[in-house]
């Protein structure tokens, strides 16, 4: 099993060494005893207000390590790295950790209040719900009709190949966990996904690792359009980034849940539980929501209602992690998106 998973992850980033790689690591010494080590995919800037607010209530020291979702998986699944809390936007990988028995069960009053779709097995707890959106360069779209669904987007790209050639961005699903999750859900939800990928591939679509890079590129005008960008990041940037439009499609919107789990290797599961409670109650702290730009889990909004399609936690997410399925998917995707 180890080997299989390793093979899977090596195919994601063949150049990676066995040891997992951190993008950033920051320490927040606390006034009291205890030490909470968090491994997260969320940027330090995004998460820092939460850490400060948490430390204002609980005096533990916190180490906050940032890694890509694939690295989080390597750290926890293959190397058994000792962390007390794993926060990731890759719901599928979190599900696999819990399914394969690498997460601890935790329950409290706060988690009991979470809606049923926002937790799985009392091991994975969602604390944000983040839609995938289309980000447009406002100036470029003064003359163009803003697409409201994927068919419209395909038509727009076909009608204006000269305008969009080389100026479309999307996730490189080979490196981005969130990008892979959004792409696989798209492939499940619409027949036009592969057609759209083909069209985007013919227009020399640029591939990105992260939402923030795509938003920068759209804001600067290098891109006219970025597809499947994390809505929370885009909205957070709207205020200080002029010239950007955020569009939620009206055929369907995939909603990703950012989740936290306590790994089996945790040394301070109690402190991790306190952090999960804190995150689960984020909706009660609007100022923190505003600071981080992370939309909290709200009971009513997670239900399937028409266009909003929250990605469901559960064994279904394991399907696209199957090494053969992933292999097939990536090959199809690469052959569609890279046509040169």
């Amino acid at each position: 099993m180890r080997l299989a998973c390793l093979a899977l992850l090596l195919s994601v980033a063949a150049s990676l060494a066995l040891a997992f790689e951190l993008e950033e690591s920051r320490s927040y010494p606390g006034t009291g005893p205890g030490h909470l080590r968090i491994l997260s995919t969320a940027d330090v800037d995004v998460f820092e207000p939460i850490i400060h607010a948490f430390q204002a209530r609980h005096a533990v020291s916190i180490t906050y390590d940032v890694a890509s979702s694939a690295q989080v998986m390597i750290a926890l699944y293959d190397e058994g790295a000792e962390y007390d809390l794993a926060i990731s936007s890759a719901m599928d990988l979190q599900t696999k950790l819990a399914n394969d028995g690498l997460a601890q069960t935790y329950s409290s009053d706060a988690t009991a209040l979470l809606p049923p779709w926002a937790k799985w097995r009392d091991q994975i707890f969602a604390f944000t719900q983040e839609p995938a959106v289309l980000v447009l360069n406002a100036a470029a779209f003064e003359a163009l009709a803003v697409p409201t669904n994927r068919e419209g987007l395909i038509a727009l790209l076909r009608d204006h190949p000269e305008a969009f050639d080389g100026r479309i961005g999307t996730y490189d699903v080979r490196v981005s966990g969130a990008g892979y999750l959004f792409a696989t859900q798209d492939s499940r939800n619409t027949e036009s996904f592969w057609r759209m990928t083909e069209v985007m591939g013919r227009l020399n679509t640029q591939l990105f690792c992260c939402s923030s890079d795509m938003i920068d590129a759209v804001a600067s005008g290098r891109l006219l359009l970025a597809y499947n960008v994390l809505g929370s990041y885009a909205r957070a940037r709207l205020a200080d980034t002029p010239g950007v439009l955020v569009v939620e499609m009206d055929d369907f919107v995939s909603v990703m849940l950012r989740t936290a789990l306590i790994p089996q290797t945790a040394k301070a599961p109690e402190a991790a539980g306190l952090m999960i409670d804190f995150l689960a109650n984020m909706r009660l702290r609007p100022e923190l929501v505003a600071q981080t730009g992370l939309p909290p889990v709200v009971s009513a909004s997670g239900e399937d209602k028409g266009v909003i399609r929250p990605i469901r936690l559960g064994p279904g997410l394991l399907v696209f992690l199957d090494r053969m399925r992933r292999d097939t998917f990536l090959r199809s995707w690469v052959s569609s998106i890279k046509q040169d």
Binding site: M1, G101, R121, G314, P315, G316, V319, D322, T328
Partner: protein, 460 residues
């Protein structure tokens, strides 16, 4: 009966036995519901597992001579719809793991060809229900055997099982309580003719010798028949006793009266003083015998009639008047004046006229007997309720120490040796009073020497 131990309640026995049956049925119901429901639940999980494995097996294909599988999203998501169970899968082609978890055990055992095979086993610190589905595949004309294993933990099953247990327990307990309540009612209902019968028999009191006519269930008909036969025999025996007493009284009194009359006639004809003396003694002895016989018979009569009191509405004033008129000749002999003092309004008592007359006559007779000549007896009716039929004389009265024991049979006062008496008079009065729910009161006459005896009767 005492050999049979403590008394047994039929109703309790019925209720306990019915409750035991209900408890047995409840337990049987509980277990059968659990077995059936859990069997159904397990079968449902098995079916979903088999559907999942089959849909994976169907998604195995060959691509340029290479066996590949594209696991359908629904194959695993369907397992997550009802529970949050962990799911593992493995696709094997000719013994080589194609994809999935390499270490997932394959269920083994006998089965018919191409049928899903199920097993329950431990894996990764958990209990799993697993299925293996096989399929043949031809790759470049080489037959390949594809096996798909899908395993799921039994968390959802355990949750459903616990719900079933809760429901089955609730239904079982409810069934038991309802059945017990209903059986209590049923027992009550079934035994109500018995209760009614028992109540009818108990209510009639010890003196009612009419046959039992209350509605009788068939099962009790022999008992009631026997009881009625017994009552009839008892009634007949009592009637015979009464007849015997009346007959005896008649037979004893009549000859005695004849003897007395003859003796008196002879007394008048005798001239020699010692002969007259002898005859007087004879008359006195006859009187004594007559009186004793009469009182014995009266007493027996009172005892008998008290057992079967036949009451009717009587004016107590009539009783007194009647007694005075019967006894005034005797009183006249001693120059005793009898005054009757009746209230204005008419009173009514419920009683046996023969017994009450007897009692009143005994009281008045006593008063006359113990009153010196030329005195006065006051007969008074004091309206109640309870009313008092009071006779006060100016005789020697009662010695205080006698009052308590005088009404006893054959008990006489310590100061009456010179007067003929049987010691039964007050006993008769007391028995009559008690038979009518009243009492005998004995006391001193407040208006000068002498005694007052009252028959106290409930009146209205």
């Amino acid at each position: 009966m005492s050999r049979a131990g403590p008394p047994v309640s039929i109703r309790r026995r019925l209720v306990v036995q019915l409750a035991l049956v209900a408890a047995l049925l409840s337990v049987a119901f509980f277990f059968s519901l659990r077995v059936v429901a859990e069997g159904a639940t397990e079968a449902t999980q098995d079916n979903i597992l088999a559907a999942s494995a089959t849909s994976i097996a169907d998604a195995v294909y060959t691509d340029a001579g290479v066996v590949r599988v594209e696991i359908p999203y629904s194959a695993l998501s369907m397992l997550g719809t009802v529970s949050e169970d962990r799911v593992f899968y493995r696709v094997i082609v000719n013994g080589e793991t194609l994809t999935g978890y390499d270490d997932l055990p394959v269920p083994e055992g006998r089965r018919s060809r191409n049928q899903p095979l199920f097993a329950t086993y431990g894996y990764r610190d958990d209990t799993f229900r697993a299925v293996v589905v096989s399929r043949a595949l031809s790759v470049a004309n080489q037959p390949r055997r594809v096996q798909v294993v899908v395993a799921q933990t039994r968390l959802g099953l355990a949750a459903i099982s616990s719900r079933i247990t809760t429901t089955a327990t609730a239904i079982g307990v409810a069934f038991f309580l309802t059945a017990t309540a209903l059986s209590t009612l049923a027992a009550q209902n079934a035994l109500s003719p018995l209760s009614r019968l028992a109540e009818a028999v108990a209510r009639r009191g010890p003196k009612d010798l009419r046959p039992v006519t209350a509605e009788t269930p068939t099962e009790l008909a022999p008992l009631v028949g026997g009881l009625n036969g017994f009552i009839a025999r008892l009634s007949a025996a009592l009637t015979r006793s009464e007849d015997l007493i009346v007959e005896a009284a008649h037979r004893v009194r009549t000859p005695l009266a004849t003897v007395r009359t003859q003796a008196e006639v002879m007394h008048l004809q005798m001239e020699k003083p010692h002969n007259r003396q002898a005859l007087r003694q004879m008359i006195r002895a006859v009187d004594e015998s007559s009186r004793s016989a009469g009182q014995l018979l009266d007493h027996a009569m009172v005892t008998l009639r008290s057992d079967q009191l036949e009451t009717e509405e009587i004016d107590p004033g009539d009783l007194l008047r009647d007694a005075i008129s019967r006894l005034s000749p005797t009183a006249d002999l001693k120059d005793i004046a009898i005054t009757l003092d009746l209230p204005q309004e008419a009173l009514r008592v419920q009683g046996d006229p023969i017994l009450l007359q007897n009692a009143v006559r005994n009281i008045l007779d006593n008063a006359i007997k113990y009153s010196p000549a030329d005195t006065e007896i006051t007969v008074r009716l004091v309206p109640g309720p309870p009313c008092r039929l009071q006779v006060c004389d100016q005789g020697r009265g009662f010695a205080a120490e006698d009052i308590a024991r005088l009404p006893d049979r054959f008990s006489r006062g310590t100061n009456v040796d010179d007067v003929i008496g049987s010691g039964l008079g007050l006993t008769i009065v007391r028995d009559v009073a008690q038979a009518h729910g009243g009492a005998l009161e004995i006391g001193a006459n407040p208006e000068g020497g002498g005694a007052c005896v009252s028959l106290v009767l409930p009146s209205y």
